[in-house]
């Protein structure tokens, strides 16, 4: 929230003139009847998408010339708001004159772009962007019907955000590359989730197979696993400072076993490593003296110095040993 958001927007005022004009007077609204098609020797394809019970529905009509697969005529019928009707209208226009194979490449982004008054201003406010998605879906369906193939084959990747057409692989890459931790960051980087918001989490506008929140959690897990593996690799190569905590403690124990413990035991004492805390400047090793060492005058002077110097020598100059 900030000054410009205090009043909320006037939704319809954010529509392009083209959206308004086409809602008021759609150019390709209507039907293609089987008799006409029969007369022309062409093929009729009529595809439905959505339903009145969903809140929006579109029926797309294609008259296709079987000789060259060209869409020679197209019409639509639509149940929906202004944006849905305008999107259907412009989608129909984009289909006319294209081959079925060309038409199937039309996306909702193309539909929205065709509704713009100028190239830099979105045709509709973010929450209405979704209306153009149905236009894209119904084209795929019609093409699948004409070509006799499953419409799913037209989609080569998993699209998580339909409004901005962002794929699962893109999202995973961007999260990893930029070390993203919030959904807001994902939206800033990819635009995914910035429009109808259905893909953010369950319970929105429509049910989705993938949600940004889940993708973020899973990808963060992968990032953590990759980091851990990297640290383990580095540690096994003996680079103490990049080791994981467990690796560090094991390495410290090994040095203590080899160089120190025998002398402590000789005097009836011992020590254990309690914790290791790493900051930019120091690696603090917390230890506790046991047996005779506990309370021995040397434990805070000579013995401590000996432990610290052998750890520094064997592992890292950043080490400080702190008895508790």
């Amino acid at each position: 929230m900030a000054k410009n958001d205090m009043l909320g927007e006037s939704l319809w005022d954010a529509y392009s003139n083209k959206v308004t004009t086409l809602m008021n007077n759609p150019q390709h609204q209507g039907e293609i009847f089987p008799e006409e098609v029969e007369k022309n020797g062409t093929k009729l394809i009529v595809a439905d998408f959505g339903a009145e019970s969903c809140g929006d529905a579109v029926r797309l009509y294609w008259e296709v010339d079987p000789k060259d697969d060209k869409i020679v005529n197209s019409k639509f019928k639509s149940f929906g708001c202004g944006t849905a009707i305008a999107s259907s209208d412009v989608m129909t226009e984009l289909c006319i004159g294209k081959t079925v194979q060309e038409a199937v490449k039309i996306t909702n982004i193309d539909v929205e772009f065709a509704l713009r008054d100028d190239a830099d201003t979105p045709a509709v406010p973010p929450q209405k962007m979704h209306c153009s998605v149905m236009a894209y879906d119904v084209i795929k369906k019609a093409a699948g019907m004409y070509l006799g193939v499953d419409e799913a084959t037209f989609e080569t990747e998993v699209i998580v955000c339909e409004c901005a057409r962002v794929s699962l692989t893109t999202l995973q890459e961007v999260i990893k590359l930029n070390d993203l931790t919030t959904v807001e960051q994902i939206t800033d980087y990819t635009k995914a989730g910035g429009f109808c918001k259905s893909c953010i989490k369950p319970g929105g506008h429509e049910e989705r197979e993938w949600y940004l929140e889940d993708i973020l959690v899973d990808t963060r897990k992968e990032i953590d696993a990759e980091r851990m593996a990297a640290a383990a690799d580095a540690g096994s190569k003996g680079d103490f400072e990049t080791m994981t905590l467990v690796q560090k403690i094991k390495a410290i124990d090994a040095v203590v076993d080899e160089n120190i413990r025998q002398f402590l035991v000789m005097d009836g004492g011992d020590m254990e490593v309690i914790d290791v805390k790493t900051s930019d400047e120091n690696i603090d090793v917390y230890i506790r003296y046991l047996g005779a060492c506990n309370g021995c005058a040397s434990s805070s002077t000579g013995t401590l110095y000996a432990i610290e110097s052998s750890l520094k020598e064997k592992l890292s100059q950043k080490i400080r040993v702190l008895p508790i």
Partner: protein, 405 residues
Amino acid sequence: MQAYLDNNATTQMDPKVLEAMLPYMAEMFGNPNSLHKFGTKTHPALRKAIDQVYTGIGANDNDDIVFTSCATESNNWVLKSIWSDLMQHGDKNHIVTTEIEHPSILATCKYLEENCGVKVTYLPVNEQGVIEAHTVKSFITDRTALVSVMWANNETGMIFPIKEISDVCKEKGVLLHTDAVQAVGKIPVNVSDMDIAFMSFSAHKFHGPKGVGALYIKNSRKLTPLLHGGDQMGGRRSGTLNVPGIIGMGMALEIATTDMETKMAAIAEKRNRIEDALLKLEDVFVVGDRANRTPNTILISVRGVEGEGMLWDLNNAMIGASTGSACASEDLEGNTVMLAIGADNELAHTGMRLSLSRFTTDEEVDFVIKTFTEGVNRLRAISSSYAKVGPTEGGEVRECELHHH
């Protein structure tokens, strides 16, 4: 020509109300809590307004009517302070309300559930869109602190059996709150007839000013304030008194409740004329019995015509109405009230609410009938629901294959 048929959202101020308020803006601007004459000069008009509001809802002298900023504040106050008084510092833990309350009730209940461990029961409505008293009764437990049920519904105009519900609450010894925003000024409301502990209402719904509402509190019952501060309104609600607002509210309620039967009949006559005309269109239906509805409201469902698309056409003709199936909202569920009354999903996306007022004219009624009919015809001509040529092989859809409901 233009027509405003969204009076359940807000109303135009009656010019007589404005006239009563004007002297208390720039001329008699004093703070009524001051000792000097600048302040005390406002007292006679405020006393009159208080009288008008007490009379308007039939309150007794030993009841309190505390002026607030709006009914949302009144609703928040009751729920949050009942939690504080009877749950946080008491042995109750439960509130009974309904699925179709205003967001200021529902969101506050959610807040109390999530943050204060309060248990809330949301009662369903019957197929008429009404909460029945026996349903309320069956959900009251010995740990129920409050029943909160609206008097009339904003979407459908359906009037709830508040008298019966108050009898149930009395019998069970539970406090009753009613959000009467859509009832006060529209239908007779007399709190002395029944056992209502708290009642919220708002001036701008009955041709009064915005920014002023009230909470009626029976027998001056103790209720921890929502707004702490100075000792305005006897310490019950702090903040400098909204002098012109209160004066406007008093005047507006007096006008609305004077000769109310005549006013109601005149509005109902116009409402019925619109409703009868629209019912002649095929495949439409109106929610709820007319006899049990506020006289100004129609919630109509028009098959094949999406609510926002219809609003668009009405708006182009300068008619203001509303729809509950906000296509623009993040959550594309249909009209919640329509879903609650068991209407199928198709109807939930085709609901249109027309709400009249005493300022609606016969010319406007004719204009609305004509424009609405034209809009339905135009949008049905575009609508896939009315297309003649069906899908070719493989082009059919299963019901709602993408969206969830």
